[in-house]
């Protein structure tokens, strides 16, 4: 009887969750970049034209790397960029919290524009996603090294 590789399936679920989180975050922002610009400016890190460019490019980057985490050809690069973005998001939320800014996160679109942010929740959520992303990234890296040195895929052969 085939032994179920629980770890591999768990990592697949984590990969899907991280990917879905970025895809769901990207879609409403692509549809309404004006509202997202307001959220970006609220962090008081970038403003004006630069904030507008960020609000146009960032959602597409989130969409591409969200899908990218599921595509073998670009999954390592996507994983690295997702981890990097999550670190930036965590730093921005911590910074806004420390400065007592009254802003909306803008993380998942415009419906929550008027809601004040719960920074602790936002930071915890992003830390959890970051941990998941790092786990997926390590798995992809090991898998890539194994294939390059000619070793068979990981243990049970389930290389997600």
């Amino acid at each position: 009887m085939a032994q179920v590789d629980t770890k591999a399936y768990l990592l697949l679920i984590v990969r899907l969750v991280v990917s879905a989180a970025f895809l769901l975050a990207a879609m409403p922002k692509i549809q309404d970049p004006v509202a997202f610009t307001t959220s970006v400016e609220g962090f008081r890190v970038v403003e004006g034209d630069l904030a507008a460019w960020v609000s146009i490019i960032l959602p597409w980057l989130e969409l591409v790397i969200g899908f990218g985490l599921l595509i073998p050809q670009i999954r390592r690069g996507s994983g690295i960029l997702i981890a990097l973005l999550l670190v930036i998001f965590i730093s921005l939320h911590a910074s806004a919290w420390a400065r007592g800014l009254d802003i909306s996160c803008g993380c998942y679109g415009v419906n929550q524009t008027d809601e004040p942010s719960n920074y602790l929740w936002l930071i915890c959520r992003n830390v959890a996603l970051l941990i998941g992303c790092v786990a997926v990234l390590i798995r992809d890296w090991r898998s890539d090294i194994r294939s390059r040195v000619g070793l068979p895929p990981d243990q049970s052969g389930r290389d997600f």
Binding site: I30, Q31, P33, V34, T37, T38, S39, E41, G42, R44, D49, A52, W53, S55, I56, I57, W60, L61, L63, V64, I65, G68, Q73, I74, R76, G77, S78, I80, L81, G100, L101, D102, I103, S104, T113, D114, E115, P116
Partner: protein, 137 residues
């Protein structure tokens, strides 16, 4: 490492293609275009042309430090007393009410303006686009 570089290049190309689509299709306004006004908002230049009641929805420390002349401090947490002060001022001389908070994106002014419209349905109530930051500019 070269394969990783290829991955980043491909990701960058796809991202820029998407961003270009947003701009070309009109999904996103051109970053250098004049920003639009949301419902219930008013620009500072328009507000300054009117005789209005300014309502400061920022934290008290910021209000105490500086505020728009004759602005009323409004603590959302102490809604009733804030509303009574505002109603007294408005009833003495009815005129548009403009609520402002700290920045373009602070939700407080929009939220308070929305609640005030329910409490004072006969009053003309706006939130200031750009908030206190716009006043400072």
């Amino acid at each position: 490492m070269p394969s990783l570089l290829k991955e980043f290049t491909l990701i960058a190309a796809l991202t820029l293609t998407g961003a270009a689509y947003s701009l070309v299709s009109g999904l996103a306004p051109l970053p250098w275009a004049e920003p639009e006004l949301a419902a219930g908002e008013i620009r500072l230049t328009d507000a300054q042309a009117l005789d209005v009641i300014w309502v400061d929805a920022r934290p008290y420390e910021e209000f105490a430090e500086d505020h728009i002349p004759e602005a009323l401090f409004f603590d959302e947490g102490d809604w009733d007393s804030g509303l009574i002060d505002l109603m007294n001022t408005w009833l003495m001389q009815p005129r548009p009410i403009i609520v402002y908070c700290g920045t373009e994106s602070c939700g407080t002014s929009k939220r308070i303006a929305e609640r005030l419209r329910e409490a004072l349905p006969e009053a003309e109530i706006y939130s200031l686009k750009g908030g206190w930051d716009a006043w400072l500019k």
